[in-house]
Amino acid sequence: MADDLMHAPVPGHVPADRVFAFNIYGDPRLTEDVQASYQSLHRDAPEIFYSPLNGGHWMITRYEHIFDIVKDYEHFSVREMQIPRIENPPVFIPLSLDPPTNLPYRQALMPHFSPKAVSAMEPKLRAFAADFIDEVLARGECDFVHDIAARFPVSVFMELMGMPLDRLRDFRALADDYFKARTNEEIGALGERIIGLMTELVELRQKEPADDLISKMIEFQVDGRPIALGELQSMLFVMFLGGMDTVTNVASYTYRHLAQDDALQARLAADASLIPRFVEEGIRSFGVINTPRLVVKDCERFGVQFREGDMVLCVLPLGSRDDRRFENSAEFDIDRQALTHLTFSSGPHLCLGHNLARMEIRILTEEWIKRIPRFSLKPGLRHHSRVGTVIAIESLPIQWPV
């Protein structure tokens, strides 16, 4: 894509002092320390600014502003979540439905992601984590992204959904390809295959119900009628998109930090009860989602005029690193005062999987530290990330003494 094609004229309601060009798909200001380098915006850019690149959109970077916008669905809608805007945007249930339309789906799903429901999965998750780590243990090295962080959430997802184990290989390969795909054609084709596979599963569970989420979802009632296949497909796809790559990347960035912090490794090895704090600080420090909203009603907020049709991007990783809320926000400090952050967003679309995600990274770390208390980055390598509305690290080669 040529830059000039993406360079939209600045609309009249945007004052010149709010314009600041930033390319979310590869700005030169972003380094391999993606979240840390994003923080330069807090210093260098206007408090709320309009980037004319990628079709033109607002960028919201402060905790307090993001928090207000994601709750204010009457003005800031999830109906369109693409930057630049596209024709016929896909409908994701419940992610791209505003209240009250999202409510029946969200409320039907919530019990299955409650603290109680996810803790029932703990023993299974622990066994998965242990297996993946044991596979690499004797080698003294691995690519943490590829060998651990990308594989673990796939197994968790299959367990949650009740996917038969004989499909594990197929599904893992498909998930792998999907998250690596770059072109729209590839993404579209793989997306269809994933939906196809889930549809098979829905059909199987219609015949032979089991104790798993898909069997329960088939029974969902929406506004007093049984849920339709298309709705199920959409919900399953959102869980696929939301539940795997995110955990992979938050865990990988967190371990990239841990690999370089010997003192923290020693503390975690000596006292496993610190692990939940470590996990929370990893999630705070390494947000991986920038969530878009479409302005559907003119309004003035924080001294800025938003007009119907404007796209707004909430930079969640920056909300979680806002120094107005978090002291020494760039520091990885497991002892900091526990305050809610924005890595999981907030409001009616607060990540449905937040309890599960925390548990996954906690269990992975408990099993990891037991086996590999000391490890480091393989020297001399760079860790490239893809950036955009999703932030993803491509590899993380690490080593440990054997």
Binding site: Q107, P111, T340, P348
Partner: protein, 106 residues
């Protein structure tokens, strides 16, 4: 002004000033009361603003609605006194109320 006491998971008693019309959750968050996480900011999408409200204060409150009840059904540390503080409006009837924050929200 209405005064509310929150008993935190560490056992501290935090006496905070709340305004009529805001929710108990908002008052707690404004004063950074330990244990009231309120991850969804009051959209009734998380259940992390859970607290225990006992007699006589609970008697002054409207019963929980369906949505609140269904979140509480699947929470942790749930008791008959459990409420979502984001669903409770501060009013003069709550002046002096003592509200206990459970040991964890998950």
């Amino acid at each position: 002004m209405v005064w509310i006491e929150f008993v935190t998971p560490s056992g501290d008693v935090r006496r905070v000033e709340a305004s009529e019309g805001e929710s108990l959750m908002q008052a707690a968050v404004r004063h950074q009361v330990e244990g009231i996480e309120a991850a969804c900011g009051g959209s009734m999408s998380c259940g992390t603003c859970h607290a225990w409200i006992s007699e006589p204060w609970s008697a002054a409150l409207p019963q929980p609605e369906e949505g609140e009840r269904s979140i509480l059904d699947f929470g942790v540390h749930i008791r008959p006194q459990s409420r979502l503080t984001c669903q409770i409006q501060v009013s003069a009837a709550l002046d002096g109320a003592r509200i206990e924050v459970p040991p964890s929200q998950s």
